[in-house]
Each structure stands twice: as structure tokens, then as C-alpha cells.
Symmetry: C2
Subunit: 246 residues, 2 copies
DNA sequence: TTCTTTATTATCAACTTGATAATAAAGGGG
DNA sequence: CCCCTTTATTATCAAGTTGATAATAAAGAA
């Protein structure tokens, strides 16, 4: 692939200084389920502005980095999670570009949704990152009742809404449980995210065609042993019905 | 809302130069239906790189502008469309930030999906914008067969996919027809976007609960006069089934 | 008037849903 | 070891939805 001479000349004459520029960051909506409750990894701000307020983890995108790569890097830096070991799902959410969203300067942020697998009991341990602000887990539906730093409440709300909607017509909920999971574990993810209860029998009937039965059984704490499944298909059709809010 | 002294001091001490910055643009996937075919407004590039290739309309985001405002402004500038007169739907699609997506320099682009209403016959007239490159309408499914400038083929594909998916569970297709429309007009939008045929009777049955009958009738060119509807609800439940590709 | 064209409604079997119950398979306490 | 509790899975049933196909209705044209 050789570049024609005319094009090369043009590229050399290009002057990036002629164009307006912005600082680009990523903000992360990191979600995991424990105790039947959807949690988000958040940092308590130790500096102005919004000192003492809750914020999403995040940071600047490097000059030779895509937003997605920056999302993975910041996730490791700010939460201390070992992504080589932990199964993790990252997808772009939306970009927030209101000129006044950060009072310090023009910052445009590409928000990402991050889903971490848990067994439903223990949340992944968060170690303090390079920043002094340590990340901790917070129950999502409770924390959305109070304000957050910057526009992070909107971003968190959008992230939960994205997950809620996508769970209706894909098996993305399986990214929040271990590789092999029981129907109850998967149903608990739906209930935690949608903040509602679902009838167990109908849930199993609906989900069964979209997962793969490993043949293995989980040793139950109490009651009958549950079958262990792995996620297979991407699309649930017709979709899982989300009960009306309330 | 007074700012505490400590915070004000902090804001003054902030130095934007310390942080990496990128040029921010918007790219527009502008869609409209005519003759039963989904079309996209595209510009033929007159300069390097990708000279002669097809590209999405777009441009730089101003220093005090949100991406959405820039999308509206660039739409007017590059296509000459009068948005005061024309009903237009704009929604953010995704942000493209591969460091090498533009060979000239680091450019991050927030792509937007734009839907223009038509009667199904005539596409909105595009006048040449301030740039020498004039915009023209191109059939989407045909143009996606050949390469485009930059990563614009991916963006266009993502835009059509977003519209296709959203049409399954919302009445967004109504943004591509006039305020008052017939079932056939609306069905044509589905057929053009999904690039498939749909049985008319079942389409009417399925859509009827989600639109409002004005009581008026369209004067038909041939055949029975069709009822005129307006769009009402946002969510179609259960969703409109999209036939498997083929 | 009759034909052609298009819109709308109807029919029907197969399937899906939500509610509810029945069955099955553990472990634990007496 | 036998029942009781707990949990998982399967079954049942009426109401609703789907896809295929056809019947009816309402124009304009020949």
C-alpha cells in the first residue's frame, strides 16, 4: 500500500493546531451482582470539584489509545482488578459532551458499560488504584436516589437502562454470572437489574432454549441440586418480558 | 449557588495544557426512504485522503458546543436542509476513536443517526454546503457493498443496524414518514430498512395498537383510500418480528 | 357495470405467555 | 431411617400472539 505523492504532500501540510481540540476521557459504569442487588463500583472524590461526592471511575484517553483500550486500562488502574484473570464485558455506552459538564475545562467523556462476573455472593475485591480515591461497591438503585458528581448520575442511569433493555433480547446477563451458572443465578441477575421479582418456573421455560445444559449439577446448599448451564445464543426471541415498573 | 473559596482557587489553578487532547468531530448517518429504498446522504470527497471516495457528512465540534448541537449545525451546513421546516430525528450512535482512523491526525468522531421524513416518493433536496463537496442521496444497501472513506462504511452499517433494531420495539420508523401516514407508508419504511417484504395484513394488525387513527383518509392513487394515522406510543410490545436475513 | 388495484378485516392452527400447581431431589432433625 | 423443609424443574390451562392465507371493502378505470 504505497501512498500517492499528492496525498503524501497533503498529509505533511496538515496542521492540527488549526482545529479546536478537547480533553477526552472515559467514564466507567462497572456493574456486578451480589446478595440479589446490583452494585456499581464508585469512587468517593477527595478533591474539588464535587469533593466528597460519588463519581464513576475513569480517566484520560492516551494520545495513541482508543477509548475502549483506555476503558480497560483505567478499569485496572482505578479498581486494581486483574482483567487477565476475571471475565469482563466492556461495551461503549454513549459520549457526554455538554460544554459545561466539567466546571474546570472542556472534557468530553466516552462512557463504557463494564460487567463483572460474580457467583452472586461476593463482589470482586477493589484495591486502591494509583489515585488516592479508592473505589468501593454501592447498591445501584439506592445510590441513584441521591446526586453524584458531574453528570455521573445520568451516565449511571443510562448504563443500567442499557443493561436492562439488552437483557430483554440477548443473553448478556450471563456476563454477570460465572461461566457455568444455574437458572437461579441467572434469574437473580435479572431481578437485581430490573429491581423486581420473576416467577422461577416461567423464567426457566423461557431461558432454556437459549442456554446449553452442561449435564453437571451444582451442589446445592439446600434443596434439589440445580443444573449448570453455559450461555450460547446471543438473541432471545421473542424477548424476555420486563414487567412494568412498580 | 455560591462556590466555596477553596473550590474557586482550585478551578483557577487548573491547567488544561497538562492533559492530552484530540480533535472532535461529528459524522452523520442521514437516512430517508424513497421509492421503497433506504437512502443515505453522502458526500463525494474532492481532496486527499480518500479523494473521490464516498464519505458521511460531518465536521468539527466547536469549543462551546455539544456534539448534538454540532450535529444539527453540520447537517444544515453540509446539506443545506432547513431544519426549522423539516421534521428531523437526531440521536447519538457511537463514538469512533481508533487512533489511526484518520491518517492526518488524531480525530475522534461522535457519529449521529439522523432520520428525515419523506412521503415515500421524493427525497429532501440537498443543496451544496459551504464545503465544495456536494451531498447526494445514495441507496444504502447498495452503497454498503463497496468501500467508503475512513471508517465510514462501519459507521453507516452501525447506523442502519441501530435503526433496524430500534424499529423492532419502538415506533421510530414513524420519523421517516410524514406526521400523518398510511399503514402502507409505514410498512414501506420497514421493508426498505430491513431490505425485505412484510405481509400487509399482519403488519396492520401488529401496528394498529401503537398508532392513533385520525379518522381521515388519504386520497389513493388507485385502490381503496387508506386510513391516516399518527404515531403515539414509543414501545411496541411484544416487538415487531424481523424476518431472518435472506 | 365489471375489472383492477389497494386496504382492511377475518380465520385458523401453532405457538407463547402468565398464573398456578404438581413433581422431583436434595439435606437436616428427630 | 423417615418425614419435613427447601429448592429446582416440569406440567397444566386459559388467554393472547403469530404467520399464513383468504375474504371483504372501497375506490378508480375500462
Amino acid at each position: 500500500m504505497s501512498t500517492p505523492n499528492g496525498e503524501q504532500q497533503f498529509l505533511n501540510a496538515y496542521t492540527p493546531e488549526d482545529y479546536p481540540s478537547v480533553a477526552l476521557t472515559v467514564d466507567l459504569v462497572v456493574l456486578a451482582v451480589a446478595g440479589g442487588v446490583l452494585h456499581s463500583a464508585l469512587v468517593r472524590r477527595g478533591v474539588h470539584p464535587f469533593m466528597g461526592g460519588l463519581a464513576l471511575p475513569g480517566g484520560f484517553v492516551g494520545p495513541r489509545e482508543s477509548a475502549e483500550r483506555a476503558a480497560f486500562r483505567e478499569l485496572e488502574e482505578e479498581t486494581g482488578l486483574d482483567l487477565g484473570r476475571l471475565p469482563v464485558h466492556v461495551e461503549q455506552l454513549a459520549t457526554y459532551s455538554d460544554p459545561d459538564r466539567d466546571p474546570r475545562m472542556r472534557v468530553v467523556s466516552v462512557a463504557h458499560l463494564v460487567l463483572l462476573a460474580t457467583d452472586g455472593q461476593d463482589l470482586p475485591a477493589l484495591s486502591a488504584g494509583s489515585d488516592a480515591e479508592a473505589a468501593g461497591w454501592h447498591p445501584v438503585h439506592a445510590v441513584l436516589e441521591s446526586p453524584m458528581a458531574f453528570d455521573h448520575a445520568s451516565i449511571l442511569r443510562d448504563g443500567v437502562e442499557r443493561l436492562s433493555g439488552k437483557m430483554e433480547y440477548t443473553t448478556v446477563a450471563a456476563r454477570l454470572v460465572p461461566e457455568e451458572f444455574t437458572m437461579t443465578q441467572l434469574r437473580t441477575v435479572y431481578e437485581a437489574t430490573w429491581n423486581t421479582r420473576l416467577p422461577a418456573g416461567n423464567f426457566t421455560r423461557k431461558m432454556l432454549p437459549h442456554v446449553h445444559d452442561t449435564g453437571r449439577k451444582s451442589k446445592a446448599a439446600a434443596g434439589a441440586p440445580a443444573a449448570l448451564f453455559t450461555a450460547t445464543e446471543r438473541h432471545i426471541h421473542p424477548p424476555m418480558a420486563r414487567p412494568a415498573a412498580g
